[in-house]
Symmetry: C2
Subunit: 177 residues, 2 copies
DNA sequence: CGACAAACGGAGGTAGCCTCCGTATGGTCG
DNA sequence: CGACCATACGGAGGCTACCTCCGTTTGTCG
């Protein structure tokens, strides 16, 4: 990959992040190219369609989340667990709209995204198991339960950060072993 | 309202339902007008923009759900409660994508939609209170809890009906008084 | 430094959004 | 019953976005 190509790839991802968080998954691709100071043709060479750009962006962000989760290994189990839940909520809030857009798209090769998902799940499982082994979290809880709790929490408290904090503390207390 | 206008209004809503469930909130408005055998101008007179059409459609559906919930008054409390949860899940599944599109839109007069929401909530509360008074449902559960549970359930079990049924039975068992 | 594969840019064809206004028609009143 | 007009309809047209295609530019390697 040529140096200019890599530079432009990164620039496009950064501008796509801005545009998608501002306007949702419907953001104009031409606007993204303009923000990056590049032609629309360049955007389409790197990402053949909207889905490809979204998948690349989400995958990059998921990799970032995975890195953070792995760093939680240095914290005590209960604290690491709480931080994991919190980070997942934050990630879910920011990318809920975008992720739903991606989910509704079909077909195509989503290997990259699937891999990033699997990695994030595995990293989360490690934190969960550790917390459970330390007796900080009920042993019957699974990651699927937490996904459901987190998503429900986010949707039920839309636009009410105070309610969100209250319910999150309730959930965390309820999960303690 | 003239007779032809009312007929066309209904026809547009029906075709919008088809199109939105097929293609999500991004469905083409021109396609909706075509399906209804009407000009695009007619669609825009009845619904000045996409949001207005979505709001009208969701409101109509919510009113239908409210009617169903009210009919549950004839069933025994525990059964009515379970049916309410089930119907809410069904409604949420079908309209999740569309509803999210609506939620992300801002400003404008949403009185009609707000009223429909309030009515559905009130009807649900009646069923909940009755079930709790009969001792069929834990007294500390609120409708907000159920919204969170339901939404989380739907999101966590995307594309896996079997898992959905399993988790739903778990939730219903867990809610019993 | 020169050559060429790799990358860029943007014109252009298509389609959807929404507006505007000329045309058609349902309902009402003499 | 017929004529009038407010109400409603249709679609052309201006705009913007999507995506493709190809002529031009540029990084890299011998």
């Amino acid at each position: 990959m040529r140096a200019d190509a890599r530079r432009n790839y990164e620039r496009l991802l950064a501008c796509a992040h801005e545009a998608f968080t501002e306007h949702g998954a419907d953001a104009s691709l031409e606007d993204i190219a303009r923000r990056a100071g590049l032609g629309i043709g360049t955007l389409y060479r790197h990402f053949p369609n909207r889905e490809a750009l979204l998948v690349a962006l989400l995958s990059a962000r998921l990799r970032g989340l995975t890195t953070y989760i792995d760093e939680l290994a240095g914290q005590e189990p209960a604290e690491a667990f709480a931080n994991w839940v919190r980070a997942s909520c934050e990630h879910g809030k920011t990318y809920r709209g975008i992720a739903i857009g991606v989910m509704s798209m079909v077909l195509g090769d989503r290997t990259e995204f699937d891999d990033a998902c699997a990695a994030a799940k595995a990293a989360g499982d490690r934190v969960l198991v550790r917390a459970q082994e330390a007796g900080a979290v009920r042993p019957d809880i699974t990651r699927a339960h937490l996904v459901a709790l987190v998503q429900g929490l986010i949707l039920a408290t839309e636009d009410d950060p105070e309610l969100f904090d209250t319910l999150l503390s309730v959930v965390l207390a309820g999960l303690s072993g």
